[in-house]
Amino acid sequence: MTGTAPDVAADTVVAGSSLPDVPRATGPWTGEVAFPPRARYHELVAAYKTSGFEQLSDLTAVDYLTHPGRTLAPGVEPERFEVVANLLSLSLGRRVRVRVQVPEDEPVVVSLWDLYPGAEAMEREVFDLYGVRFDGHPDLTRILMPEDWEGHPLRKDYGVGRVPVQFKEAPGPR
């Protein structure tokens, strides 16, 4: 278990070069990927922060509704949503990715705002486009869609909303 974070909890799976089965990118973009359970997410990110990951580069989400059989690290239960946080260490020149599984029936995750104030707009965007709520976020309102919009557009069961035009049929099979 590679440990950039000094006190990684026992049920957090950290993948990376030590885990050959998990598909990952090759080349200079390879890095460590951690799969904490939802309850330990905040704790893990706080641990990364104290061990030198000063900045949160990006926080986003993925809806795995139509791709449930994706390959995860062993011992990780796949859920419908996944919140992905990319952390950056300016002092170490390294990145780490944290992927936490979020179930469909209870799409709530702890907010990282108290650790990284820069997460505020990113979490609002995830809420707006996916409907995942963040506990502890100061202002969880829509950010990109109009306030009275119904639905969360980036979910897989939300259509693209294409207006039929001449000579172009519906999108083909994936």
Binding site: P23, R24, A25, T26, G27, P28, W29, G31, E54, Q55, L56, S57, D58, T60, V62, D63, H67, R70, T71, V84, N86, L90, G93, R95, R97, Y116, P117, G118, A119, E120, A121, M122, E125, L129, P138, D139, T141, R142, I143, L144, M145, P146, E147, D148, P153, L154, V160, G161, P171, R174
Partner: protein
Amino acid sequence: MSDRSDQVGGDLFAGVRHAPRASIAETSEGAQELATRRATSPDELGREAGAVLRIPEGKVLDTGDVDVERPTDETMIINMGPQHPSTHGVLRLMLELDGETVLRTKPVIGYLHTGMEKTAEELTYVQGATNVTRMDYLSPLINELVFSLATEALLGVDIPPRATWIRMLLSELQRMSSHLMWMATNGMDLGSTTMMIYGFREREMILAFFEKTTGLRMNHNFIRPGGVAADLPDGWEDDVAVICDTVLRRTYEYDELLTGQPIFRERMEGVGSISATEAIALSVTGPILRSTGVAWDLRRTMPYLEYAQLDFDVIVGTYGDNFDRYAIRLNEIRESIKLVRQIVERVPPGDYRVQDRKVTPPPRARIDESMEALIHHFKIFTEGFRVPEGEVYVAIESPRGEIGCYLVSDGTAKPYRLHIRGPSFVNLQAVPTLLRGGMIADAVATISSIDPVMGEVDR
């Protein structure tokens, strides 16, 4: 409106058509807007005032800092945008003012939301560059580059060296044209229409070169997964040399026009300052972060392409104010010229895209000769090439900061999830901190110095 006839001179007005009342279409965004103090929780007040960054961990918001108890009738909430003359696109700012001083700020965005990430799931990887390029429309080649690097990382292909160097050349020219555009609009926001004309004049030279190379002035769709779409045209070294010499000479004209000028300095120095801790906490990158003294430039600290082999300086400021950001961008134009000159000498001959026929379409002439080439061409342009399953986060340095691409592939020819981490989206979180305590007249200059491009903010 229709009962004017009841008023004085009723007969005189009868029969005259009145212009219809201006549309009362609602443009309020409800909960997304800045609310009055009474309607806002103390936590959110602190956040909107930027005070949250100064709280040590474990402490509660210091109400003295943000003046929670101030009666509402002393402050005024005004609205700037989304349509306003500052040329930074459809950004709406709600400001709470005490006289001329800005207390709280809330940017309301989403007026240019295009659903590009949803569209990306419907387009193949070949078509993906056309979509991604329109996000940050001032540096489209950089968007295409980050998307192509992400796709290539998942594909596992090696890009030929010539393609890499061509990409670097185009990236640096793009950085120059973006910073020139910034200098033009920044000058315009401060009132210097001369700078606007100068900046566009230089930019036209670079756009003419892009048109010669890629076919388009903007939104090029030139850097694609696998390499670049075509080779550089003949005589490109001379064109680039002319561009470099002219632009370098003219940056000294800008020094005369702006840098030493007392009015400019007084309007920019000390205005809109931010500290390094605040910037890092807010995930701010790019010239704003460098203006606070942190020497973080991804081309130097986490090099991609072949930047590790080139010699250039990372420009760093001291005070984190508007003037530092101006100076950084001006000098980054000079550094880019330096880089372009080095690249011109070192571009190797060779292929401009990877030879794998499954990824790169064959040359058009071969389609007539070879059935296999025809099949590959057909498959690539109808179905697209399949990318192995996986996920990757690639980040490069755009003129505005760190632009990242988080790409998830499920093994098919279309991305499963494409997320672009737009630097301006994240940098806009610094707006409350930068504007707090300043004058409203400085708000336009400060917004301009953040250099937001709403295309990548809203995607």
